[in-house]
Amino acid sequence: MKNLTGFKTLLKREIARFMRIKIQTFVPPIMNAALFMIIFGFFIGPRIPQIEGIDFILFFIPGLITLNMITSSYSNSAFSLFLMKFVGHVSDILTAPMSYKEIVLGFTLGGVIKGLLVGILIYLTSLLFKPVIIFNLPLLLFFLILTSFVFASLGLTVGLWASEFEHVEIFTIFLITPLTFLGGVFHSIKFLPPILQTITWWNPFFHIVNGIRYSMIGLNEGNILIGIIMILLLSVASFSINLHLFRKGYKLRT
């Protein structure tokens, strides 16, 4: 990196941005997660049979962490870049002597850090309801970091493309939320009829949720190797796409 200070400054700015709105950043996902744990874990959970010998609450905690982490990292980079474009001070970054790699990484890692913080806070909250002993910490960190990276990158792409606020939300409403929910956040793939099991298998979110669930509680309903390869490929692809778009000046340069 030629301008390491520039990259660090952008990353610092990204962190300062969400830390300035701490309540908005951290309280909603924790509150939501706590409510899910109370209602689905304690009120409804005991009526649902164990999944592979695991209580329902323990089953869905990894899914809940994944869901919140994905939306947090996505929305961080998407809104950060979109607001910069909207207000007009994105030119501060574009006219600075930073390489496109430094710019893309600065924005993306800001989203990764926010996603990880949200994930850790939900994990800590879950300890109040159900102590979870991590099954495979290195693999869990691998999945958490790269999942945040992929969705922070997607957020950055959408932030570039978006010309209105609702454009940013469209992806959350129509892509991220449905695919994550259908990817097995709250249900086992075994609950589904064979045809839906096959469809779910092709949902990339299923492999992400499964990878995180396996590394957290040791339950594997898919193929961990597919999850690892997929998340690695998505990370490289999403980063390369953003690098290409920034180099071209897509929706940044006229």
Binding site: T5, M84, D92, L94, P97, T254
Partner: protein, 314 residues
């Protein structure tokens, strides 16, 4: 010697509309260059192309010999841009805006803090250092925009309408500051709608109109070669007609308007004594003499085909 800015054959179009047509421009190191033109002439498009906020169709731009596309990181580090539009990071206060800007330009934390402190003092923003930009007045925002452009001590400063919306006092103070940093060796490219500003500050003037560079010359040459001058002589008597002898003696265009004789010439200072001698020889008494010279604004309007609004006549 390498020029501060070298633009060759620059073309840029938007949706089929040619915004810049084969622009060629050389700005020497240390120059104070005024880039003038009517709204939509292509000034900001040129600037955006220099700093990397525009793609351009063809041509090349070099800053101190470095290509703005191939060596974009190098050239961006050499340029400080004060944009016409005021836009700041809403999550930062005034001091942090300057410190973060320094950081983006590769300046370490300690040096960034020192530089921000210097600029806060130089631009009278110290007492507002913890304020958000929304709390600043228009003049303060303008000062902060300029301070931000200077934070990394660039060698070429681009000031796009830097005094727009400022009061007379602030404008004069900014002019003094620009002159000071230019005297220290910093090259300045200024765009402005205040022609008086360009006349007072700039050594060289470039005029662009409808995407074409029409004229580039020193301010002095422009004023000397393109300026029409007029000697207005109020006489003791009303002339029925201009005497033929006077016409022969004075090689300038003569017009009479009541008891006022107008002598239109290229150099009024040189012609004045000849005219007075001729009038004296004709025994025509003189009550009052006034020399009226075209200003840069008149020349600019002549070149761009604009019309000067004479509001004072209404």
């Amino acid at each position: 010697m390498v020029n501060a800015l070298s633009i060759k054959g620059l073309n840029k179009s938007y949706n089929g509309l040619q915004a810049l047509k084969n622009i060629n421009l050389e700005i020497e190191k240390g120059d104070f260059f005024g880039y003038l033109g009517p709204n939509g002439a292509g000034k900001t498009t040129t600037i955006r192309s220099i700093v990397g906020l525009n793609n351009f169709d063809s041509g090349s731009i070099k800053v101190f010999g470095y290509d703005v596309i191939k060596d974009y990181q190098k050239t961006r580090g050499l340029i400080g841009l004060s944009r016409q539009d005021i836009a700041f990071d809403p999550f930062l206060n005034v001091r942090k805006i300057l410190e973060f800007q320094a950081g983006y330009f590769g300046i370490g934390k300690k040096d960034a803090e020192t530089r921000a402190e210097e600029l806060l003092k130089a631009f009278d923003l110290k007492e507002k250092e913890n304020a958000r930009f929304r709390e600043l007045s228009g003049g303060m925002k303008r000062r902060l925009t300029i301070a931000k452009a200077l934070v990394h001590e660039p060698d070429l400063i681009i000031l796009d309408e830097p005094t727009e919306g400022t009061d007379v006092e602030l404008r004069r103070r900014l002019w003094n500051y620009f002159k000071k940093i230019n005297n220290e060796g910093i090259t300045i490219l200024l765009t402005t709608h205040y022609i008086e500003e360009a006349e007072k500050l700039c050594n060289t003037i470039g005029i662009i109109n409808k995407g074409e560079m029409i004229k580039v010359d020193s301010t002095e040459n422009l004023l000397q070669n393109m300026s029409n001058q007029k000697i207005e002589i109020t006489l003791n008597q009303k002339l029925d007609k201009i005497p033929d002898k006077l016409k022969k003696q004075i090689k300038c265009e003569l017009k009479k308007n009541g008891n006022v004789l107008e002598v239109v010439c290229k150099n009024a200072d040189v012609e004045l004594s000849k005219v007075l001698n001729a009038l004296n020889a004709q025994k025509i008494g003189v009550k009052h003499v006034e020399i009226v010279k075209d200003q840069l604004e008149d020349i600019y309007l002549k070149i761009t085909g604009g019309v000067r609004e004479e509001f004072d006549r209404v």
